[in-house]
């Protein structure tokens, strides 16, 4: 063993070491408690505030007579308070198991759903604040509500909250115009920092366009939290303010009428063996620019999106077989307008002296333009020249080819002479709104601009694509199995490669009858025809009419603006309108169906049968009425109604009977009119002040307002917890 003296020294050394530790600690303690000139202080409140957002009920959307199109309904939402569950001896396992059984899910999934998300907790997890009660089931069935509320002792930490949800009382009525709602996502929050996860946001249609008006102001409930984030009481609460009510110019009765007629026409056309894949109807007031109805088929129920659409429902809606029910064909669709375009062609030709209202012109069965033979529909022909009135009435195509081709060659001469081409037809189309979004009060992505071809765009497109055309022509589509198709495609690519830039006489002739690259939406056609009865004004139309706040006060009136004015003389309009009056009977295409209608003399219309490559014809009919003449003899109409059925045949066979049912309903044939006097509502409806919808959690009076940073005693939690769940 070691030397005792050495051991003694070693023990002394350890003693000194220990003593130095003691002195160090005492010195540091003295410094920290008494000497330190910069003592740290608590900056966080001893009880700090956490905010629970109380989403505001969305504003209602009502029709022109104040009838609800979207209203609010209260729903029961089942919430789970994770903190309360964890305080239980079994950490809530039993409660979650019972709840899972009730809701038809598993306790494990519920446990995941109520766990706050973090880098180590992946989805499914709770994205809200840890202290907020987590909604685990929305729109709970009554049986579950009863079970939970009658056996409260079996469900500690589980609460039922009443929330308001948008409700579409008439199901799919005006679905495309109203649009659907969705939950707020990260992109929305980045765009608008005032949004919270609890909010509902309009995704499409009026819900999206007027979202800021409809959303209201979220309320809040302040929760008092201890430094661990546990709820110890409730602070101030601010009631949510419901969004304002949007009054639309939609007339629910008219909307119902056109939707029923559209759906029936689809069924009828299909019964006749036509595909009739889709269709739409637009009803507007040409004098105000307001839209009374806009229907699109196929349609959907926006209620499916309330509270989040299920994956299954979404898959059904977006399946190819569903044929895009979410698409608003009345406003966003772009179709070849066919002969309905002759309004524009006539306007241009007469205004620029290519046709005369008094002259007669040939209407042969076919005509060769630019080396290609173009025929009339069914090759019908008139031996003698006919008047413009008859050309419009019988819808003779060859009649309009001639001025279009002549204009083309005149322009070619100007181009050869170094001048800019006139392109009157194109300019007139642009004045009527073709090629530009109509500017209706819907999201920009939901309005079709339509299109037409001219020299400039043709050249630009060729410049952008010629490399591809020429490469395709060289390669010759080796992947195409059908030799005929391969040869056709190769030929086309070859022509495009060399001549794709060229705008031809045939192109101009195609445009004259609403074919070729000419497309318009049903709404655009309605706008163009409206111009006939209001002195050439092309409206920037509206669906919204006014915004009414909770007290019933009108806070905003929405008025259509004039987007452009067509430079066409009123007598030309009168001439066209009179030429197409159904009072002329057989002389007007499409009037046949109305021969026996009591109102036949009060309306007029133009059919269209648009050929679509690879498809059956698109059936069009644009109508107007009831017609009147003012003191100067100018033709006036109260409504313009445009109908379209895709792949359904001629205008007279599908769109004709479809709109006849609409006019029957408007005029009240065999039953009371849905729109007495066919007069759209002239003044905003008077809305009674809303009964304010308050949403849970109810404001708690017990906890007084706190200012952050002020130390305050902790309120016992039990009462606070139940308070939060009330």
């Amino acid at each position: 063993m070691a030397d005792p003296r050495l051991v003694g020294r070693r023990l002394g050394l350890i003693g000194v070491l220990v003593a130095s530790l003691v002195v160090t600690l005492l010195g540091r303690l003295y410094y920290v408690q008494l000497l330190d000139p910069n003592k740290p202080v608590q900056t966080a409140g001893f009880v700090h505030d956490g905010l629970v957002v109380v989403p505001a009920p969305r504003g209602e959307i009502v029709d022109a007579r104040g009838r609800p199109l979207v209203k609010n309904t209260s729903a029961q939402v089942l919430t789970v308070n994770r903190g309360a569950l964890q305080a239980l001896p079994d950490e809530g396992t039993a409660v979650l198991t019972r709840l899972a059984q009730l809701l038809g899910t598993t306790a494990a999934l519920l446990a995941k759903e109520i766990t706050p998300c973090s880098p180590t907790v992946p989805a499914p997890c709770w994205t809200g604040q840890p202290y907020e009660p987590v909604p685990v089931a929305t729109t709970v069935p009554t049986s579950v509500v009863l079970d939970v509320s009658e056996h409260r002792e079996q469900y500690p930490g589980v609460a039922l909250q009443t929330v308001t949800l948008p409700q579409y009382p008439d199901g799919s009525l005006a679905a495309h115009v109203l649009g659907y709602t969705g939950a707020v996502n990260e992109a929305d929050k980045k765009q608008n920092t005032s949004l919270s996860d609890a909010d509902t946001i309009g995704r499409t249609g009026l819900q999206a366009q007027y979202d800021s008006v409809l959303r209201g102001v979220d309320g809040s409930q302040t929760m008092l939290l201890d430094p661990r984030g546990e709820v110890v009481g409730q602070g101030t609460s601010r009631a949510a303010v419901q969004g304002d009510t949007l009054v639309t110019s939609i007339d629910a009765d008219v909307q119902k009428l056109v939707e029923q007629s559209l759906a029936q026409q689809i069924a009828d056309s299909r019964a006749k063996g036509k595909p009739a894949t889709s269709g739409s109807v637009v009803v507007m007031d040409p004098n105000t620019g307001r839209i009374l109805a806009a229907a699109s088929y196929p349609t959907y129920d926006p209620q499916l999106f309330v509270g989040g659409i299920s994956a299954k429902d979404y898959a059904t809606l977006t399946a190819p077989s569903a044929n895009d029910p979410l698409l608003n064909r009345a406003i966003a669709g772009e179709y070849a307008p066919g002969s309905t375009f002759k309004l524009i062609t006539t306007s241009s030709a007469v205004t620029h002296d290519e046709l005369s209202l008094t002259g007669t012109y040939p209407c042969p069965g076919s005509m060769t333009i630019d080396g290609r033979v173009k025929t009339n529909f069914d090759s019908e022909s008139f031996g003698a020249p006919i008047s413009l009135q008859d050309a419009l009435g019988y819808s003779c195509d060859t009649f309009f080819y001639a001025p279009a081709a002549a204009e083309y060659y005149a322009d070619q001469a100007r181009v050869a002479a170094g001048q800019k081409p006139n392109e009157w037809l194109q300019k007139t189309a642009a004045a009527y709104g073709v090629g530009r979004a109509p500017g209706v009060d819907l999201p920009a992505g939901e309005q079709g601009a339509g299109s037409y071809a001219d020299r400039e765009t043709r050249l630009a497109r060729w410049n952008a694509n010629k490399a591809q055309y020429c490469a395709d022509a060289k390669k010759g589509f080796p992947t195409e199995s059908d030799p005929a198709q391969r040869q056709y495609l190769t030929q086309l690519a070859s022509e495009n490669c060399t001549d794709g830039w060229r705008y031809r006489a045939g192109d101009n002739a195609d445009m004259a009858i609403g074919q070729g690259e000419t497309t318009m939406s049903p709404l655009q056609l309605a706008l163009a025809y409206s111009a006939m009865f209001n002195g050439g004004k092309v409206w920037q139309p509206t669906l919204g009419w006014g915004v009414v706040d909770g007290s019933g006060k009108v806070v905003q009136t929405i008025k259509p603006k004039v987007a452009s004015t067509v430079p066409v003389r009123q007598d030309v309009y009168n001439y066209i309108a009179n030429s197409l009056s159904f009072s002329r009977g057989w002389a007007v295409s499409g009037a046949f169906a109305y021969l026996d209608s009591p109102y036949r003399n009060e309306i007029g219309g133009k059919t269209g049968t648009a050929e679509v490559f690879g498809h059956q014809d698109t059936s069009w009919l644009t109508t107007w009425g009831p017609v009147s003449h003012d003191a100067k003899g100018n033709v006036k109409a109260q409504l313009v109604v445009v109908g379209m059925v895709e792949q359904a045949g001629t205008g007279a066979t599908a769109a004709g009977p479809m709109l006849k049912r609409v006019w029957d309903g408007l005029f009240g044939v065999g039953r009371p009119s849905v729109l007495p006097g066919i007069k759209p509502a002239a003044t905003l409806p008077h809305l009674t002040p809303q009964v304010r919808v308050t949403t849970a959690p109810a404001p708690a009076k017990r906890g007084a307002a706190t200012s952050p940073g002020l130390p305050m005693p902790i309120v016992p939690t039990h009462a606070a917890r139940t308070g939060a769940n009330r």
């Binding site: 003694g8 350890i14 540091r28």
Partner: protein, 397 residues
């Protein structure tokens, strides 16, 4: 026994009463016990009871739990630890050589069991759940086991030699081997704090065993080198490094790892000379300091009892160490090494714990001996103090 029986007869039969009691009351109840040592430990444990109570009552109440729950369990731990203390104190210290190796091997087995059936608390896989809410932390017992094992090793091999020479290289290497096995296991859990305690206790035993200075200095340098390499290579877990970096830059990342340190610092700094008074510390009542009933229990003392209370605790540890070293001086070789080992263990652990509360040392997750809430450490320390008593009784007789 013979003395007690004889004394009454020595009393003057005519005197109405004895002027001086022959036997002091404590002497009678605990012959040969170092009362100051036991008293200091008991005082620390009772102060600990108050501090644990203060640290937990408001938070427990806010969570709907029994506000006195932690107090009761702390007192229960104290009762069990006292029983262990008495059992250890009553053993004959000469038996150390006999059961020493078993103590060492048993605690090593416990440490290994952690890797098989252990559970993870605060990042360290260091606990064995016993069921019924009881948990055991074998590394606490390993501290005592290692000290006893080393003491027996040196004493046994030293007794076989006649000359008064420092322990030979073979003994030192064996001892280092004894230390290395538990050290590595504890590092693997990973429990850096316990590893540092083990190392410092072992270092104290080596010094007291009289090993040559080149060994002690060499080992110190090696430890520093290992620490540097560990940080560079990344042997330490992220949370351990984070604690160290929050120590070097306390203002940084207040809500993260430095949060504990900052909050404890706020609590102590605002205690002042006499403190806010029991149950009146806003930091403590607000639950700002995480782990306050265990690793940061000293911050309760600093806030509610102030400089005076904080100094009393340090002073009680000083008394503990003084008595321990005093026992070491008069003990036989094995008892001396046990005493020194226990003193170094408690001194280093207390310094490390109080130091991290005062922002002096990095946060390593060590309880304050006797004071912190926690059964395993309390039991192991009860055994250790009991063992010192046994050593003391042996040398006093």
């Amino acid at each position: 026994m013979t003395l007690l029986a004889a004394r009454p007869s020595a009393r003057d039969p005519k005197a109405p009463f004895a002027l001086t009691p022959e036997v002091l009351p404590l002497d009678r109840r605990a012959p040969g016990y170092d009362r100051m040592l036991a008293g200091a430990a008991l005082a620390l444990a009772l102060i600990g009871a108050l501090l644990v109570w203060a640290a937990t009552r408001d938070v427990a109440r806010a969570n709907g739990q029994n506000p006195q729950g932690f107090l009761y369990r702390h007192l229960l731990n104290l009762v069990i630890a006292s029983a262990l203390f008495v059992a250890a104190a009553r053993t004959d210290a000469r038996l150390l050589r006999l059961f020493g190796p078993f103590v060492y091997l048993a605690s090593l087995a416990g440490l290994l069991a952690v890797f098989v059936v252990g559970s993870t608390v605060n990042g360290a896989h260091a606990w064995i759940r016993l069921g019924g809410g009881f948990e055991l932390q074998p590394s606490e017992f390993m501290k005592l086991g290692m000290i006893v094992g080393m003491a027996v090793l040196f004493a046994q091999r030293g007794a076989d030699r006649e000359e008064q020479l420092p322990p030979p290289t073979s003994d030192v290497l064996l001892a280092i081997g004894l230390v290395t096995v538990p050290l590595v296991l504890v590092m693997l859990q990973p429990d850096l704090g316990s590893a540092m305690v083990l190392a410092s206790a072992a270092f104290g035993v080596l010094v007291a065993a009289g090993v040559q200075a080149r060994w002690t200095v060499g080992l110190l340098l090696a430890a520093v080198l290992v620490a540097i390499i560990a940080v560079k290579v990344g042997v330490l877990a992220d949370y351990q490094l984070a604690r160290f970096s929050s120590f070097t830059r306390p203002g940084h990342d207040v809500q993260g790892t430095a949060y504990n340190v900052t909050q404890a610092h706020i609590a102590i700094a605002n205690g002042g000379l006499f403190g806010r008074g029991l149950f009146n510390g806003p930091q403590t009542n607000g639950g700002f300091v995480p782990e306050q009933q265990t690793d940061f229990v000293y911050s309760v003392a600093g806030e509610e009892f102030g400089l005076v209370g904080g100094a009393v605790i340090i002073a009680l540890f000083a008394v503990l160490c003084w008595r321990g070293l005093r026992i070491a001086r008069s003990a036989d070789p094995a008892g001396r090494l046990v005493a020194v080992g226990v003193v170094c263990w408690l001194a280093f652990q207390a310094f490390q714990n109080i130091g991290m509360n005062l922002g002096l040392t990095p946060v390593t997750g060590l309880p304050l001996p006797f004071v912190s809430y926690g059964g395993s450490s309390m039991f192991a320390q009860g055994l250790a103090i009991g063992l010192l008593q046994a050593v003391h009784r042996r040398s006093a007789s």
